[in-house]
Subunit: 317 residues, 2 copies
Amino acid sequence: MHQLIDEYFVPAFDMKALNDSAVVDNLTGRIAVTTDSYVVSPLFFPGGDIGVLSVCGTINDLSVSGARPLYLTCGFIIEEGFPLNDLRVVLESMRAVAGKAGVSIIAGDTKVVDRGKADRLFINTAGIGIVDDGVDISPLNVRPGDRVIASGSIGNHGISVMAERNGITFDPPVLSDVRPLNGLVGEMLRKTKNIHVMRDPTRGGLATTLKEIAGASGYGIVIEEEKVGVKPGVRGACELLGLDPLYIANEGILIACVQREEAEGLVDAMRKTEAGAEAAVIGEVVDNPKEIVLLKTKIGGLRILDMLSGDQLPRIC
Amino acid sequence: MHQLIDEYFVPAFDMKALNDSAVVDNLTGRIAVTTDSYVVSPLFFPGGDIGVLSVCGTINDLSVSGARPLYLTCGFIIEEGFPLNDLRVVLESMRAVAGKAGVSIIAGDTKVVDRGKADRLFINTAGIGIVDDGVDISPLNVRPGDRVIASGSIGNHGISVMAERNGITFDPPVLSDVRPLNGLVGEMLRKTKNIHVMRDPTRGGLATTLKEIAGASGYGIVIEEEKVGVKPGVRGACELLGLDPLYIANEGILIACVQREEAEGLVDAMRKTEAGAEAAVIGEVVDNPKEIVLLKTKIGGLRILDMLSGDQLPRIC
């Protein structure tokens, strides 16, 4: 274990906490904290791997809370016999994307279990960030008339992982959208501190996230199907396989609600960033019906979007 | 998953971070951060379970860094079919011991994997604490002449888990020493801020921890075997099974180095606490030989204690 840590983990992260705790400087502001475990299968998929996912997922959970992510911890559970070269690739992915996002991985832990007692590699990350003064992201802020903004097209992550798992290839390939959103959120908050709520629609997809916002706010949400971006590859895969892109996991987009007057300017600001290049208003918050999400279909119908019960695609993150 | 979280996790922890991040008050001071994954097998053992272990282990990593633990996150990886009653017991253990230690579990995550893809239950915890001004715990502070203090007897956790795993019973039973050490450390720091280093001798046991301190400080350590507490049950189990208690994992004791003049008063203060009732000076730091740990045996010999290579007992935490 000492050797594994010295040879693989120390060079990858320059960690401060090989024993016990990492001690960092004083932090000023409200502290935001989150954690997620990552059990994605397969570990490598078009557009990313478990390492990128475990760093971005936690960065994004902090970001959509309005926090600036600063520090991550990571815990590895490794199945005996897991190829060290694959471990090296995963660690390098983590190092690279954390560096790109300006986040430090400061503490880590590894446990090895017997062959057959885990599925190759699981990673847990926890993240710490700062919520600056004046930032208050909560579904309780949501009001009727608010515009609902999506930062990009949906379904890319889930379809990428599902296709890789089942040996299906698309031409052009469907790439996971996994990426850090803290840069995008930083630009959004520079444009306006008055963002009512943000969420990243991961497990359960866009529909589940909107349903959660509707439930927590007490209001309803109406989404226009034709405004929700779905790339041709994702659309084709979903049609073939009988999946609904509205319920497919994403790892590189966010949903935001802002008051109507702020929406256009915010979308313009988002589009200037790489992560928000396809940002668009996709719907609005309504007073009635309460706690319901409705989809206006392209042919003019209305469909109720309920929460996903059971995983449409398990082990997607 | 929503149902699982609502029914089991929310009542257990009163979590703030069911979605995305928990936001806590401003923290003042240096922030200490740590993480550990727990894969102990079996999940329940005399004196504790994986839940108690996952809370105490992370509290203790913060504590021996001189930090006051404040917040924990927890990530659960659950094998499909894991009994919900067992999960409830583990969650209750976590809630109870976190409450006793005055630490809040503020964010959590659960992932379920197919049967056979994990060994029942793995838990990751990450912890956040504050290092107060004037506290500086580091092996670089260690000096020749320092006294080495152990807060209790060794080997109890590892023998308890090993016995349970192998269906061995002792009379009286050997109980794991798993417990939070933040109260003890608080008392120690009230007695003197001038504690040079602290460590909790978990994986690899007392010998490995001392060897790490010796290596990091550049000095040597001499331990007197007759001063190291080993309970009769642990001694008997080790003799029977050919194990060395010096290398058996502990989860409820710490090692501290302080200058000679401070040692007696500190031990007295420690003994007034439950966790430190058996505290004793067990050895001292020496200028020579450098980076070596020597054991003065009861019959007067000297034995070099090296780092454990390979796990004497795997999946002990």
